[in-house]
Amino acid sequence: MTTTLNPTPPPSAPPAADERVARVGLLRRLVLRPEIGSLIGAVILFVLFAVSSTQFYSLAGISNWLDPASLFGIMAVAVAMLMIGGHFDLSAGVLTGTAGLATAVMTTQWGLNIWVALLVSLVLCLGIGFVNGYLVTRTGLPSFIITLATFLMLQGLNLAVTKLITGTVSVGGMSQVPYFDTVRPLFASRISLFGVDFKIQILWWVLVVAIGAWVLAKTRFGNWTFAVGGDPVASRNIGVPAARTTITLFMGVGACAWLVGSLKLMEQTSVQTSQGFGEELIYIVAAVIGGCLLTGGYGSVIGAAIGALIFGMTSQGIVYAGLDSDWFKFFLGAMLLLAVLANQYVRRYAERSGR
């Protein structure tokens, strides 16, 4: 991934090719990877929480903190790719609610086949992603503003439309929907390992991370993403379809939001209109902890996954450590600050050693 940023190998290589230089080169290459800071942070966190509670590293404990990590992690992949492409999506959190509500309303209220409903809500989410991307590319306004508008509109729609159709603020009864049993294994089954249940959403997460990492590192589209995020004008000048890339990235967020919304819906068999509200910041936090630059053009999907892992470990680790829940948000903030500081430090070190 980073090679697209630094197409030329270290210039110092040819003349002084002794083993010392080679070693520095290796270390530098390692440290240049965007996810290295978050990886160090994740290891430290794991050790800290493991020291404070044996439950934390028991299989049941791991299954427990992989639960939030995977849900946030799926979104963090799409959000990180979008951020590498130079944009934000503040509507990402609420969109997971929209996805769940749409499926739930179509099946429980209108009697639509559950598979068709899932498909329709996927199209809806992709459509919202398309509109976000289209507006951003056509107007040239900051994505922050465009998606803030989408965020507010979706929040209102989620509440108003749901109440209009169902009369209440939450839609339940998914488990009574015909063919629910055919959908459930895909979204809400458990995989038993050594007597401990792991949710299938963890596999979805792994899959999404793998796809995201592959797309970013190995495909032309991945190169376009870095190029558009690094310098949209220059990339357009060399023939990168900037608008198409941006729109696709926004639609990627829509697809992931649909996945997360569906996972939550099938797991909980109900969805409330406030679902996902405020989570968009957590996705961004995960991406930033994972080494994505807020300015675009740099970052990694693996890093974002580790960022989500850090979030998951923290949110449940605080519970296992027996800390008073009043401190929860403080911890989260401290964790974010430390991770970002460590990232910055590593990056500066990398830059300096590159000279």
């Binding site: 603020v169 909980q268 406030s274 948000k329």
Partner: protein
């Protein structure tokens, strides 16, 4: 350079450890286990859907922790900020830890079903509180402690009707909470007049104040406002004053501002579900169950409300509300 990076990492670790220590080292009342009169030593966890720092839920927390001290049991309180997925994860974590008992508020029963059933399957007694009364026994909970929202809403409606209110606003401060919708429904039934629901944000009382004011100004025929939480209740008092409306006010739940307003005659009454007891009673009930296999309510909900705070008893309740137990 490598050293410097190491230093940052080490410093981070120290900071985290220090913070971690201060959390466990400075015991909140919950960790005074054994310091109270009882010496049972059980380990109970309370997982609510409330937000951290919410005035209502802070009283629940106080009640639970006080009961922990009194009974000599350890009480750990967790909140999930209205996110059912998070609440389920927190319950799962408590089940992993093999706690001796669980107290769960069920604003979104479906989402918690699997987690609660996992707890009961493991033999951990569960008591539901606050909301979710209808589903409590179905999920295998020992008992439900709370207020029937429909009954409480109807009571509020009847009292407002008696005070001459014919057209009222029902101000909902937490989108997604079914209990609040039930209150407004009950309120409409009890009032018998016309009721319009108004959505505001509990975290933004100033905004709510402006919304209520605008509503009152645009429709002078509204002569009653029912808020469903004390924070918005206090905002509504100001809003009514600013709008020049003569609408009568009532609220669900208490805080210092509300009781003062009732004592001053600016507010008719507050429907008090006495949430302190929703924190306190389940801890006592769980202790009784663990020590003596006692169950209370026989499957019927144990009702903590509605109690009404009116001008007569406002002054006494005021002191307690200021102390954070009412």
């Amino acid at each position: 350079m490598k050293l410097r990076t190491g230093a940052v990492v080490a410093a981070s670790a120290v900071l985290l450890l220090a913070a971690g220590c201060s959390g466990t080292g400075q015991p909140p009342s919950a960790q005074d286990a054994g310091g109270g009169s009882g010496t049972y030593g059980y380990n109970f966890t309370v997982v609510t859907h409330g937000a951290a720092g919410d005035t209502f839920w802070d009283v629940v927390k106080k009640g639970a922790e006080q009961a922990g001290t009194d009974e000599g049991v350890t009480v750990t309180y967790r909140d999930s900020n209205g996110d059912p997925a998070r609440q389920a994860q927190l319950i799962d974590a408590a089940v992993n830890e093999n706690v001796d008992g669980l107290v769960v508020s069920m604003a979104n029963p479906d989402a918690l079903r699997a987690s609660i059933e996992a707890a009961t399957a493991k033999g951990i007694p569960v008591i539901t509180i606050n909301s979710g009364q209808d589903r409590s026994t179905e999920f295998g909970a020992l008992a439900h402690v709370g207020q029937d929202e429909g009954i409480a809403g109807r009571g509020a409606g009847a009292q407002m009707a008696a005070a001459g209110v014919t057209k009222a606003l029902c101000v909902i401060q937490e989108a997604g909470n079914i209990g609040l919708e039930q209150r407004c429904q009950g309120f409409a039934e009890g009032l018998g007049g016309s009721v319009e629901n108004l959505q505001v944000e509990n975290s933004n009382p100033t905004g709510a104040q402006a919304t209520i004011r605008a509503k009152l100004q645009s429709d002078p025929s509204i002569n009653g406002v029912l808020t469903l939480g004390p924070v918005i209740g206090a905002a509504a008092i100001t809003a009514v004053g600013e709008s020049g409306s003569s609408a009568q006010l009532a609220t669900f739940d208490l805080n210092g501002d509300v009781t003062q307003a009732i004592a001053d005659g600016k507010m008719l009454f507050a429907v008090d579900q006495q949430q302190y007891t929703q924190g306190y009673l389940p801890i006592v009930m769980l202790t009784l169950y663990k020590a003596n296999l006692n169950t209370i309510g026989g499957g019927q909900p144990v009702l903590t409300g509605p109690g009404y705070v009116t001008q007569e008893n406002a002054a006494q309740v005021q002191e307690l509300a200021t102390a954070g137990t009412r």
